[in-house]
Structure formats: C-alpha cells, structure tokens
C-alpha cells in the first residue's frame, strides 16, 4: 500500500490530496478480492483433476476445453440451488456463519507479500495479526454447527473447535522460531531475513534444521487449521455427513467452501513467506522486471504448496479423533518447544556449519525418541471380553 502511494503520489500533484490515497487503498483490495478468489476457483478445478489422476481417471473435462469452465458451472449451479434453512435453526446465526467464514480468510491475505515492498498492508505485527485472524474462522464453524440445530453439525463444530485450538499451539510455536530468527513480526522483514547469495535460495529458513522442522510443523498445523485431509474430521462425511455445513445449501455452502479454500491458500502463502523465502528467487534483482519475477516466484511457490496439499489429500487417510489430539499434544507440541530452544542455540553459535550439525543432531534425536515413545504407545495387546 505504501509503495503504491509513493509511486503514484507524484502523478496527482494539484489534485485533491485524498485521491492518490484512495487509489493506493483500492488497488490492494481489488487485488485480494479479484485474484485470490480466482485462484480459489481454479484450485478446485486443479484439485478435482489431480485427485482424478491419482485415482486413475480423468477429472472434470466436459465444461469447456480441459474443463476450464468447470468452476463457472459449479458457481452457477450453487447460485441456482434452493436455499434451505432448517425450521428450528437459529436463523440469524445460520445466515451469519458463512459470511463470517469468509472474512478472516480474506483478511489473512493482507499481510502476504508478493514482491519486494509489495504487501497489501505492511503491519509490524504481521504474523501476530495472521494468527489472531485465522483463529477467528473457528467462530464461523461453530456458529454454523450450533445454528443448524442438528447433532451432526454440532459434532462437527465441536470437533472443529477442538482441532483448531489444539493445532494452533504447535503452529504458533513453530512461527515463534521464525520470528526469533528474523527478529521481526513483519512479513516483509521475515522475507528480507532470508536473503542470502546471488540466487536468493540459500537463505530460505527451510534449509536450516530448525527451519525444516518448523516448516513441517507449520504445514501440518496449517492443514489442520483449514480442516483439510488428513485432518478433515470436522466434516468427515462417513461419520457425521458434512459436519458443520450439513444444513447449508446453495450459495451459503459455496461461501463455506470459499472460506475454507481461501484460508488454505492464505496459510500456504504464509508458509511460503516464513519458510520458503516468500518472493525470493533467482533474478529478482534485475532492474524494472525484477518485481514481476519476484511475484512469479511467489505464486509458483504458492502453487507448489497448494499442489502438495492436494497430493496429500489424495493419499493419506483421515486420522482418528484420538490420534489427532494425541499427535498434536504428544508429538507436535514437544517438537515445537524444542525447536524454539534450538533456534536460540543457532543464534548464539558463531560457527554456522557446526551449528547446522549440532541442531540437526538434536532435532533428529528428538524425532527418534518421540517416534519410539509414540510407537510404544500404539502397540497394545488386544484383549477380547468374550472370545477367549
């Protein structure tokens, strides 16, 4: 926003003072409202096609060439569907929930930088803002589940709350490691902290032991937060139909989907920003076109994260509720706390090569121990009450 204002302020000399400001505000908003929902629309298409290929079939390929108009057809279909509200539903809350589901997801994009200096809002508490906002989305899920007056909706909503609250903890702690290393909560500063070498690849946090662990922890947390497979028990259709959006149809359902996917995309964007170097990549220092190249790298990385999400969704089975909780509290939480200590160690060790080896050894050992503990817990001799 500031960059745009500085860029265009000179063109409007003699015009009212508020005009360049209004434009500088409007452009990022239009960008967020226009580009990211388009990415969402085509994510659904890519997801359906990729899942189809994983399952040895074609995905949607009937609407337009390669099914390119499929998202449009889906949208039209949902728009023309009957909007059904259960008779006993809390009508106002029922109406409000899908709206609230979208708002935090859209707000998340405000702190995702797409090129040097180009971030909708350069908040100095960017990461904190992101967590504060993303947690609010659980409110929408619970409102939807509660207002539907349906036991499956309520069960799904309860599961969603429990899951999001649990996974928020290791996710935030993983982000704390990054904040410590970068020394700032601002997303632009975090990206700048990853600058190293001419190609701008070597400095990415993911290439350091603590960064890699943090990346895995954060990616798992982000998946759980956006309720995507394998953490989709809030909407596990084989158990509780569609969870909190069982009683939603038509465009309200579409809004829930939009919110969910936008949250997943935004989380992927934040993951890219914090661990994969954001917009950093070869060629971003070239004059004039460097900015575009940076944006290209950002969206390429974003696409890779989304594809990874889809790939995982096509592969892994849904985790059980008790496994879900156990994994969050017994594996992810100790690892993330240890990770914070390791970042401190990294910071104070002068020799970075030695630090790399030491931190890697510590984290690897911790992983082995946690694996042994959790594996020991899993092997339980089955006893049968009546069969013996």
């Amino acid at each position: 926003m500031e960059t745009i204002y500085q860029l265009i302020a000179g063109w409007f000399a003699g015009k009212p003072e508020w005009l360049p400001l209004a434009i500088a505000i409007a452009v990022p908003i239009l960008f967020i409202v226009g580009v990211y929902p388009a990415i969402f629309a085509y994510t659904t298409l890519v997801e359906r096609k990729a899942l189809g290929r994983v399952q040895n079939r074609y995905g949607p390929n009937r609407v337009g060439r390669w099914g390119i108009l499929q998202p449009l057809a889906d949208g039209l279909k949902l728009l023309t569907k009957e909007d059904i509200v259960p008779r006993d539903a809390d009508k106002f809350t029922h109406f409000l929930a899908p709206v609230i589901a979208v708002i935090p997801s859209v707000l998340l994009f405000a702190i995702v930088p797409i090129a040097p200096g180009l971030v909708p809002v350069n908040l100095n508490i960017g990461i904190l803002f992101a967590f504060a906002i993303s947690t609010a989305s659980v409110l929408a899920l619970f409102m939807g589940g509660w207002a539907s007056r349906n036991k499956f909706s309520l069960l799904g909503a309860m599961r969603a709350v429990a899951q999001v609250v649990s996974y928020e903890v290791p996710m935030v702690l993983a982000a704390v490691a990054v904040v410590m290393a970068a020394g700032s909560l601002s997303t632009l500063d975090i990206v700048k902290a990853q600058t190293r070498g001419g190609l701008e690849i070597a400095g990415w946090f993911v290439f350091q032991p603590w960064g890699f662990v943090g990346f895995v922890l954060f990616a798992i947390g982000a998946m759980a937060e956006s309720a995507r497979t394998p953490f989709d028990i809030p909407e596990a259709e084989s158990e509780i139909i569609a969870g909190y959006h069982t009683e939603y149809s038509g465009f309200k359902f579409a809004l829930f989907q939009l919110g969910e996917y936008l949250a997943a995309i935004a989380m992927a964007g934040i993951t890219v920003t914090m661990f994969l170097g954001g917009y950093l990549g070869p060629g971003i220092h070239i004059p004039y076109i460097g900015g575009f190249i940076a944006a290209f790298w950002f969206f390429l990385k974003l696409g890779c994260m989304i594809l990874l999400n889809i790939w995982i969704r096509g592969t892994w089975p849904r985790v059980r509720v008790d496994q879900l909780m156990g994994f969050a509290w017994k594996v992810l939480l100790p690892m993330s706390i240890l990770n914070i200590a390791v970042v401190g160690l990294w910071h104070f060790m002068g020799n970075k090569v030695l630090a790399w080896g030491v931190t890697a050894a510590i984290l690897g050992l911790a992983f082995v121990i946690l694996a042994k503990i959790s594996a020991a817990g899993n092997i339980e001799k089955r006893t049968y009450r009546y069969a013996n």
Partner: protein, 349 residues
C-alpha cells in the same frame, strides 16, 4: 529401514506414480482406465448380444425370414409379433408383412435365434436402444430390424462364417436336387392341388362360443374341436372361419375360393399346434386319414418353406403330386423321417 512416518511417504510415492502414469498411459488403460463413453466405446466381445435383428442377403427385399412364426411361438415373453404378407389374391407370400419386436419385453434370451430354421433372426450387439417414449418407441418394426448379412459378418465374424457355410451347403444340395425336380422350394409353386375339406357351413347343433368370450385363438380352436367331438347337441350357428381369423388378430383377409387350404374346419385340427410334441400330435391322428397323419407329422407353423401351408403340403403328398418329403424345414429331420415312415405304412413308397 523403518522410521516414523515411512508409510506416509510410501503412500505419496504410490499416488505420485499413478498421477504421472495417467499422462503416459497411451491407450493401454493400465493407469487411466476410463472409457469416455459417448466418444469411446469398449470393444464388445464377439458373443455379446443385445436384441434380435433380421438378416437379409444383398437387399432388404431378400430377407431370409419366411414368416413361419416359430420364433413368435417359442419366444418366452411373447415379444415377437408376425403377420405373413399376402398378395392381393390372399396367397401367402414367403415373407413377413409385419414383424415387430417389443424390446421393452424382450429378455435377450436368444431362443428365437436357436429355433429359427432359416438363419433369419440373429442377435445384434447394438445396445444403444434408449428412446424417449415408453411404449411405441420401444417397438422395433420390420425396417428397423432388417440388417444386412455383411453387418452380421462384421459384428460376429466366426458365427456368421459358419452360418454362411451352412447356407451355401444347403443351397448346393438343393441345386443338385433341382436337376431332377426343378424348383423344389420355389415360392411360385401352385398352391395345393388337392382341395382341402371346406368348412362351408358349420355343422348344426353346436355350442356357440360367444365372440366376446375371453379366449385366445388357440383356446377357441381347441374348445371348438372339443365341443364338436363331444357332440353336445345345441342349437345355434357355428364359429365361422372368418370370425376365428379375426380373433387371432391377423389381417382378416377375406379368403377367396382360390385359396382352398389354410383354414381349419370348425372342428379344427387339434394337432395343428406347434406347441405339441411329435408323439402327442401323432396320438391325435391315430384314426385319421393319411393326409391328416402327414400333416400332423409336420411342424405346424404354416411357414410355407415347402411352398404350401401344412395342410396343402400334406394333401399334395397324399395325392401324389408332391414327392419330395424333405421340404418341411421347421420340422427338420424328424418330420422327414416320420413322413417317409407314414408313406411306407400306407404302401405308397
């Protein structure tokens, strides 16, 4: 080497292999198994079948079907309806005028194919028969049913080749016989030299079967025979042959005197029923004249493959004007053997 989460990565490798594999499938359908139906169709096995069709040689006029109605009789769900074609004099032509198959009733059992002595009806493998109407649209008429022998060869090469070889052998046999006796099965043969017993007037003193009584043609004929044999004396008029013809649903051709055969007397020929077995039919004619016995030995389908109807052929043999005893195609070898036996018994051979 095992570590926590190894299975997760193995799973990812499997899905990645399948994902990439779909782009290099190249029609082997190992990784990308879908047939995109309206554009792509899986090849059908040669023995697959859907509904019956009628085979013609060369042009649709040269259909093999002679309207013998064996298939109509044998069809378990009764989905075939045949009316024989007749010329303006009422003389039966050896082809169907109407040949309908109700494919909503047809159960694709292939029995019509197996009973057809003329290789005229075969199973198609065209399964795209859906229609917008539930009733008339699902009835296939003669023009829809007729398909060329080439088409038959195309969809079922092995079977069709065997059929062609069989028909060729039969034609050669016939041609050889034809040197001694020209045009054995020619349809132009003058029909029935011997006059059939003519039911000019119904015998008096018979129970009338009301015309609106809920009987089928066969039941009606059988009842009439039963009543007349029992000799129950009542007053009233008999069932006229025309009335019988009308109740059967066939085109009620007003039978002129030129076609002497074809219609049973009011008493009926109780053996004139293709549903009966040979021994049952022979039991019914124990005390009957030779011509009746001969007729009972035939297949009773009035198929005109011999150039007569069953009555006419029997009369012709009995009268000596027809010497070939192997003309009854639906009766096959059984009939030919029986006819020879009967002729020997009668001392005419």
């Amino acid at each position: 080497m095992g570590f926590l989460g190894k299975g997760l990565f193995q799973g990812m490798a499997v899905t990645a292999r399948n994902f990439v594999g779909t782009y290099f499938d190249r029609g082997t359908r190992e990784k990308l198994v879908t047939y995109q139906y309206p554009e792509e169709k899986p090849p059908l096995p040669e023995n697959s079948r859907s509904f019956p069709f009628l085979v013609y040689d060369g042009t649709p006029d040269a259909m093999r079907c002679v309207a013998c109605k064996i298939c109509e009789t044998e069809c378990p769900p009764q989905c075939i309806y045949i009316v024989m074609d007749r010329d303006e004099k009422g003389k039966p032509q050896q082809r169907p005028k109407v040949f309908d198959i109700d494919i909503s009733v047809c159960m694709q059992c292939q029995i019509c194919v197996e009973v057809c002595p003329f290789e005229a009806i075969k199973m198609d493998n065209d399964y795209e028969k859906s229609q917008y109407g539930r009733f008339d649209d699902l009835i296939e008429h003669l023009p829809d049913l007729l398909k060329s022998n080439e088409y038959y060869n195309e969809i079922k090469p092995t079977e069709a080749k065997a059929v062609d070889a069989k028909l060729k052998a039969e034609a050669e046999k016939k041609a050889k016989k034809g040197t001694s006796k020209p045009a054995a099965a020619a349809p132009a043969k003058p029909a029935a030299p011997a006059p059939a017993p003519k039911p000019a007037t119904a015998p008096a003193g018979k129970i009338t079967i009301p015309e609106d009584a809920p009987f089928t043609a066969e039941q009606r004929a059988w009842l009439a025979g039963f009543l007349s044999a029992g000799g129950v004396a009542t007053s009233g008029t008999g069932v006229s042959p025309v009335a019988v013809a009308e109740t059967t649903g066939e085109t009620p051709v007003p039978l002129p005197e030129a076609t002497p055969a074809a219609e049973a007397p009011a008493g009926g020929w109780p053996w004139h029923d293709p549903g009966l077995g040979m021994s049952q039919r022979m039991d019914l004619v124990k005390a009957a004249p030779l011509a009746d016995k001969l007729m009972a030995a035939m297949a009773q389908t009035d198929c005109h493959a011999c150039g007569y109807d069953c009555r006419g052929y029997a009369d012709a043999i009995a009268a000596g004007s027809e010497t070939d005893l192997s003309l009854c195609l639906p009766g096959e070898a059984e009939t030919a053997k029986k006819l020879e036996e009967l002729m020997k018994e009668a001392g005419k051979l």
